[in-house]
Amino acid sequence: MEAVISVKNLFKIYKMGSQTLAALNDVSMDVFPGEYIAIMGSSGSGKSTFMNILGCLDVPTRGEYLFNGESVISKSKIQLAHLRRDNIGFVFQSFNLLSRTTAYDNVELPLLYCNIPASDRKIKVEKALISVGLKDRMNNTPSMLSGGQQQRVAIARAIVNNPKMILADEPTGNLDTRTSMEIIQIFQLLNDEGITVVMVTHEDDIARTSKRKVVFRDGKMHKSEDTNDRLIATEQLKLLPKLEEVII
């Protein structure tokens, strides 16, 4: 099976005055279709830099990066934008929704850059919102939604364009335990449908919901192991006390 992502000898070096700092120091890794990877590590270990490079938001100083067998390094800015648009869905810790813009419009955003007719856009947006369980909140702006709901809107935005891969940078970092599990539940369902998920987290519980754990330390890949006792979010949610969702 061909890897979705294949990085070899990746370096990201920041120069600050006379000092050089290697945020990524010779990282090599393959991600295969259908994988669910949790990237762990203390802050400053390079995991976020790695994610940003995987997501084509940032470029490495040196090294090889193949996405679906194609070299990313040689691509132009426009080609990178199209690659992000067609293949990658992002979920951020701080949700990164457009404020004062409805959930519907936020989810529609990636489609606006694809030349899709309005009627088709509507179908896709509604489908994405249904799959995160927020169809009835589509006319609400982020300030009218709870953190969990906002993150679900962000997930809907990430999947609206049927990406091959979802990149999530600490998606549960701002959420309580139960809401976190609900988000993970969506990720696991999406993964079951065949979408590759790469997620940065520093919570052990969240990492245990993945299929593989990768640990970064000082810009290097320190450890990569399959999760033995994988947690299934649907089951975990049954164990957690039910909370009334707080709507801000």
């Binding site: 940003n52 938001l57 934008a81 951020f92 850059y113 030349n115």
Partner: protein, 406 residues
């Protein structure tokens, strides 16, 4: 990104900061309004000048004697005794391109009626003079050739003289006015012509038959001016040449000696005044253009602020697949929408202001279609021009830097 959704997004973005958008537009609005109004006032004044000159009679030709020289010192122009009534009479028979001619003698005297008196000038002219000078009768009638032959003591008075000697309810027709020592019968009054281009009161006149004034009041054969009317504006120059030749023959001037008369037409005056009006219009337009420029800089400023403020949003858009071009296009569109709305509002307000200025301000205003098209095009260009730099700046942002921006 589809144009329609881009326009929608642009309107939304501007709508989020209504007050700021309005202030930005205000620059463009003021610019466009001033361009249109200044243009309209310029065009209006130019047309005004032209009608005023036309009311003097554009085919009008004036012949005056040159200045007299006494012991080598030149006197004021028109003082040389070189023009006679016969000069006027010969012109009408010899010069084919003129349709009417009249000599003019003038003297300033005291005029009185009852217990009121006023000092004004009385001019002796032929009946043709009224047609030549475009003078219109308000009440009564003009004098005739018969009056002229019989040296009749009849006169027609201008509005200023009428107002000075009569109350508004009195009818001057049929009254006798003592001009100098001679009683004249008033047979008509003139419609007001207002002040001339030179600031002279054109209504402060009394007109009487030439023969009457010349024989009964002056006794001299010399006349002050000859007025002639060319067939049309186009033949004015031909007429001038012919008049010059005829008078030189009549005065038996040697080819080497200079004219003892001067001929002037309204064409020069019209040209001069038009030049002045054009200069003023250009000056006003320059001021208006500067305010448009200032408005444009306002747009650039707001767009720069907007780019900084929305760096994160730009990052999000880029993360979900917007290219630099998409981002630039969107911001540019916002700038253009902003300046276009400003431009259209400016045009509407400009038209209103131009109307109000002519209705209440006493200026004639003529709004030209060109100025509307010009302001429309210019305001769009300003949007593109001043929106370019900020939008370019946004398009060149690195997605990750934009996303991390706090």
């Amino acid at each position: 990104m589809l144009i329609k959704s881009s326009v929608k997004v642009a309107f939304k973005a501007l709508g989020k900061n209504r007050f700021r958008s309005f202030l930005t537009m205000l620059g463009i609005i003021i610019g466009v309004v001033s361009v249109i109004v200044m243009e309209a006032i310029g065009n209006g004044s130019s047309a005004d000048v032209n009608t005023r000159i036309s009311s003097l009679g554009t085919n009008l030709i004036t012949i005056s004697p040159v200045s007299a020289r006494s012991f080598g010192v030149s006197q004021e122009s028109g003082t040389a005794p070189s023009l006679k009534k016969e000069d006027a009479d010969i012109l009408i028979s010899e010069v084919s391109s003129i349709t009417a001619v009249s000599p003019l003698v003038r003297t300033t005297v005291q005029m009185k009626i009852g217990n009121k008196n006023v000092r004004s000038s009385i001019s002796g002219v032929y009946p043709e003079y009224f047609a030549i000078r475009d003078l219109e009768i308000e009440t009564g009638s003009i004098f005739t050739k018969a009056n002229e032959k019989k040296f009749d003591k009849v006169c027609i008075i201008g509005k200023t003289v009428q107002n000075n000697l009569f109350s508004s309810v009195q009818d001057p027709i049929g009254s006798t006015i003592r001009i100098g020592t001679i009683p004249f019968l008033i047979i008509g009054t003139l419609k007001s012509k207002g002040t001339s281009g030179g600031g002279q009161d054109q209504d402060d006149i009394v007109l009487a038959p030439y023969s009457t004034v010349q024989n009964r009041m002056l006794g001299s054969e010399n006349i002050q001016q000859i007025y002639a009317s060319a067939e049309s504006e186009d033949v004015v120059n031909t007429a001038v040449t012919e008049i010059e030749r005829t008078l030189r023959n009549k005065h038996q001037l040697l080819p080497s000696s200079p004219n003892d008369f001067t001929i002037s037409t309204q064409l020069d005056l019209r040209q001069t005044l038009n030049t002045v009006v054009n200069t003023i219009t250009i000056l006003l337009s320059a001021v208006a253009a500067i305010s448009l420029l200032v408005g444009g800089i306002g747009i650039m400023n707001i767009m720069l602020v907007s780019v900084t403020e929305r760096t994160r949003e730009i990052g999000i858009r880029m993360a979900v697949g917007a290219t630099g071009f998409d981002v630039q296009f969107q911001l540019l569109l916002e700038a253009v929408v902003l300046s276009l709305i400003g431009g259209i509002t400016g045009i509407i307000l400009g038209l209103t202001t131009a109307y109000l200025v002519s209705a209440f301000g006493g200026f004639t205003t003529i709004v030209s279609v060109e100025s509307i098209i010009l302001s429309f095009v210019v305001s769009t260009l300003i949007g593109i021009f001043f929106g370019w730099y900020p939008s370019r700046k946004a398009a060149n942002l690195n997605p990750i830097d934009a996303l991390r921006y706090e």
